[in-house]
Amino acid sequence: MQTNKAFQRIYTRLEAVTKATVTVRAQEVSNDELAMVGDRLAQVVKINGDRVTLQVFAGTEGLATDTEVCFTGRVPGLKVGDDLSGRFFDAYGNPIDGGARTEGEWREIGGPSVNPMKRKQPSQLIPTGIAGIDLNNTLVSGQKIPFFADPDQPYNQVMCMVALRAKVDKIILGGMGLTNDDYLFFKKSFENAGALDKIICFVNTTEQPPVERLLVPDMALTAAEYFAVDKNEKVLVLLTDMTLYADALSIVSNRMDQIPSKDSMPGSLYSDLAKIYEKAVQLPSGGSITILAVTTLSGGDITHAIPDNTGYITEGQLFLRNDSDVNKVIVDPFRSLSRLKQLVIGKQTREDHPQVMNAAVRLYADAANAKTKLENGFELSDYDERTLAFAKDYSANILAIDINIDTTEMLDRIWRMFAAYFTQTEVAIKKELMDRYWPQ
């Protein structure tokens, strides 16, 4: 952030320094304003008379009480323009790919939200080829949905695969606390796919200070809004990992002596996350922002404040699980959900989609019960045996994330499985569909 110091208000006495914030006596400061504390960027988070508290993004290590504080008079922003395409930036919007600074119109980040009446109901299916998603948890443009995954699961790989298969105009990656390896993985995958021209990345890696992450989603979404609102493009935003973003929030609130609520998260966590996710939108003009995020869990615990609040905000969640029976990573049909799928399934896909989907999941649930019976040492009925055989087939050939087929083929495959393992009464689908699709 370049500033012309001659016109700036400069203060040189820090009254208080914590690990993430500094306090200085200053006049005429506005809320959310950016300042340079020495050579580090900071933002005003609290004003009490002439005592101004700033959150220093890069941390306060080594800051002396006589460090110069220089207010810039502007809030965080990003220069938006078509030349953002194909570029990699840090959390402040500075290029990290060796290229030149971008030119364009300056926009504040974290701006106002879209009037709900000016939104359009999402209605465009985003096919990914992964049956666990397309069939059971269909993605729709304008949707916001996270992967809930344990840190050892290949969520970044799956997300990257989904992004590259989706038919969108722009893919914007917001990386928060990405390991350098994962960052390079994304970069390499995008390059290999020859998709660089539609990629924009804002990245904060683990090598950089955690508080900087707080800027990443807003940067990514401001760029997304430019392309979706101004250019009517379909934009897919990838945010990984939102758990690390929330951790950074709690660091700052903790340093400001706020009373923590559940799981030592700030009381405003829900609103903070909602501000980000609700940027997902389908506009009447055709532009859209779809958000695919990652929330890492600790041991699959979704009752922790971060996944819990996320689940209430997002339109469903995708759960990855390693199925030991078929030794593949699958999209868990029980715990995954896409709330918007009702808007497209059976409408943009074949009419039997909703019922086939539900019947298959129900039979898969019966298999889970049969498995419990087996584990408890009980004899299995013939039906139980058949559900178990079905479950194996279903898991390996439908739920596994390495599947890449279209939805009609997915449905046909399931009908074949139904016929192979069950009677029509056991499948219990509306009769007219049964008559039409049951394999002869």
Partner: protein
């Protein structure tokens, strides 16, 4: 009257401290001037000459020293014809008339269209004595008779000096002149204003609810009925179908006015209502559903202080329509977001926190709000009601958290959504065992059912519940001891409960026919199912039992998808009879 002025002296997010230069009142509204943009705020705490105000907008760019002007009144809404079919934000700004794609701060729009003409009919004549909330005229709002009342703020007895003749008027034109006992004349228009946090109580009596409100949802109407003027709440973890259930109720409930407060929830859910409701037909009047609906939406990304206001705005509009003798259903999704808004503010005020950092007085605030619902007899003998159903989003799906517990004490119906049911796609996921309706214990309600559904109805419902409970117990035994480890009677017991579950409790909210089940159909189906539950079948093996009930369930499910008493319906019915008599012969 001179307005009190002040200057901003501190800012923490949307909590702003103001040094005031005169008297201010708790909950008074003020406007902060930021370079010409006027930001609305509400006083929430006063110490010495500092007023703490919560700003209903983003405070980005606000500076110490910004001018503040106090309005001398609390947060108010405008009440008058034109509220229905409008879409408002939490502060009653009309969202449809806002400019631009984005919600710009400091941008406020009028609640009612000042140009629109309404066909007015007077209901009083000159010389009549009237007081606050008395009906003095009527306009047609859609198909509803919208009563024009003496403004609620008028606290005297008045004489009608002048009343406008039948004709077309806007909400800003004078339709009456009232004289107070001192002879002072007051000009009355069709629109009036009222503070949202003060209940509108111009009624004679608030009796215990005494009749059921039909929602078309079987697990509610049959198993846990809600009373007209009653209260209920729906707690459930995310993904358990709270919103789908609320939408189903709103589409079908037998009421005159629907108010939906989308409080801190997803914008796309509101968009769904915007998109669907105008196309949907009110199943009872055949008119567009939107005609009887007002949406107050403060989605999760809209400012948090306005979220707190939104539920009060909705309730106040509800009380206004109740005072006209109409039946109102108010749905708030979700009251947890409202409580969280209170928590955020309490945190910023650095109040000592209660459990989970919620403010200490949360239970009192919740019950105070639920108490505003109810059935009332108006002073003129008419009656009106507000039935209130709130959803609760318990953190981590744990029902032992402050909002759920606080609400449980206030609401009379409890519709617990269960994750296990949602996971196995048994929708609506209302847990048949944990849920309850206190109204089923009300003698008034029992009498109502005796009259409407027959004296055997309530005992039959209780018996049905018992079947479900016994079925669950049997299921646990089967799970512990194995299919062959228990008598076949256990399987029979379990499958009878499954029959009730699949045919009565589960309902396809996305199927045109099944989603709305009228009371006579509910009675027919429930009695049919219970008739089977009462029969004894002599099964040799558990496999025989399982196959028999699965066949029955399948036929019943198909029956649920057909038109009531259509040829198809009866053909499935005959199929079921056949299965039963085959079984009987077998023995």
């Amino acid at each position: 009257m001179e307005k009190t002025k002040g200057k901003v002296s501190g800012i923490v997010s949307n909590l702003v401290m103001v040094r005031v230069e005169g008297p201010v009142a708790q909950n008074e509204i003020c406007f902060i001037d930021l370079d010409g943009i006027r930001l609305m705020a509400e006083v929430i705490k006063i110490t010495g000459d500092t007023a703490y105000v919560q700003v209903f907008e983003s405070t980005r760019g606000l500076r110490v020293g910004c001018q503040v002007e106090f309005e001398g009144q609390m947060l108010e809404v405008t009440l008058g014809p034109g509220l229905l079919s409008s879409n408002y934000d939490g502060l009653q700004n009309n969202l449809a008339t806002m400019e631009g794609v984005f919600l710009q701060r400091g941008c406020y729009t009028a609640a009612l269209d000042s140009k629109r003409k309404w066909a007015f009919t007077p209901l009083v004549k000159e010389g009549d004595k009237v007081k606050a909330a008395d009906w003095i005229g009527e306009v047609k709002e859609g198909w509803l008779p919208h009563k024009i009342m003496v403004p609620f703020k008028y606290s005297d007895d008045y004489t009608v000096k002048k009343i406008a003749p039948a004709g077309e008027y806007t909400v800003e034109e004078e339709i009456a002149v009232l004289a107070d006992p001192k002879g002072k004349e007051h000009s009355v228009k069709m629109a009036q204003r009222w503070p949202v946090k003060v209940p509108i109580t111009f009624y004679k009596e608030k009796p215990r609810p005494f009749q059921a409100l039909e929602t078309g949802v079987r697990v509610i109407d049959t198993f846990n009925p809600i009373a007209e003027g009653g209260t209920g709440f729906i707690p459930g973890p995310f993904g358990s179908g709270k919103t789908v259930l609320q939408h189903a109720i709103s589409k079908q409930a037998n009421v005159d006015v629907i108010l939906m407060a989308a409080c801190g929830e997803r914008a796309n859910e509101v968009v769904e209502i915007f998109a669907e409701f105008p196309l949907l037909e009110d199943p009872r009047t055949g008119r567009s559903l939107m005609e009887r609906t007002t949406i107050i939406c403060n989605t999760s990304n809209m400012p948090v202080a306005a979220r707190e206001a939104s539920v009060y705005t909705a309730m106040t509009i509800g009380e206004y329509y109740r005072a006209m003798g109409l039946r109102v259903l108010l749905l708030a999704d979700s009251t947890s977001r409202w409580a969280q808004a209170l928590r955020e503010m309490s945190n910023r005020l650095e109040e000592l926190p209660g459990q989970d950092a919620f403010p200490m007085d949360l239970p009192a605030i919740i019950s105070g709000f639920y108490a505003r619902a109810g059935y009332v007899y108006l002073n003129n003998g008419a009656s009106g009601s507000i039935t209130f159903i709130g959803t609760v989003s318990p953190a981590g799906g744990n029902l032992k958290e402050p909002v759920t517990e606080g609400t449980k004490k206030a609401a009379r119906c409890f519709y617990a959504l269960s994750q296990a049911r949602a996971d196995s796609k048994r929708y609506p996921a209302i847990d048949p065992i944990d849920s309850y309706s206190k109204y089923l214990e009300y003698p008034e309600i029992i009498e109502y059912f005796n009259e409407k559904m027959g004296e055997e109805w309530v005992p039959l419902v209780n018996e049905g519940k018992n079947f479900v409970l016994r079925g669950k117990e049997a299921y646990e035994q089967i799970n512990i001891l194995g299919d062959d480890g228990v008598p076949v009677a256990y399987h029979d017991r379990y499958w009878k409960s499954e029959l009730i579950d699949f045919v009565i409790l589960q309902q396809d909210a996305f199927d045109k026919t099944d989603s709305l089940c009228p009371m006579d159909r509910q009675k027919y189906m429930f009695e049919k199912v219970m008739g089977i539950c009462h029969r004894e079948f002599d099964f040799e093996t558990f496999g025989e039992c399982v196959d028999f009930y699965k066949g029955l369930i399948n036929a019943f499910k198909q029956m649920n998808y057909t038109q009531f008493k259509s040829e198809e319906f009866h053909s499935y019915e005959r199929q079921i009879e056949q299965m039963l008599s085959d079984r009987q012969k077998h023995q």
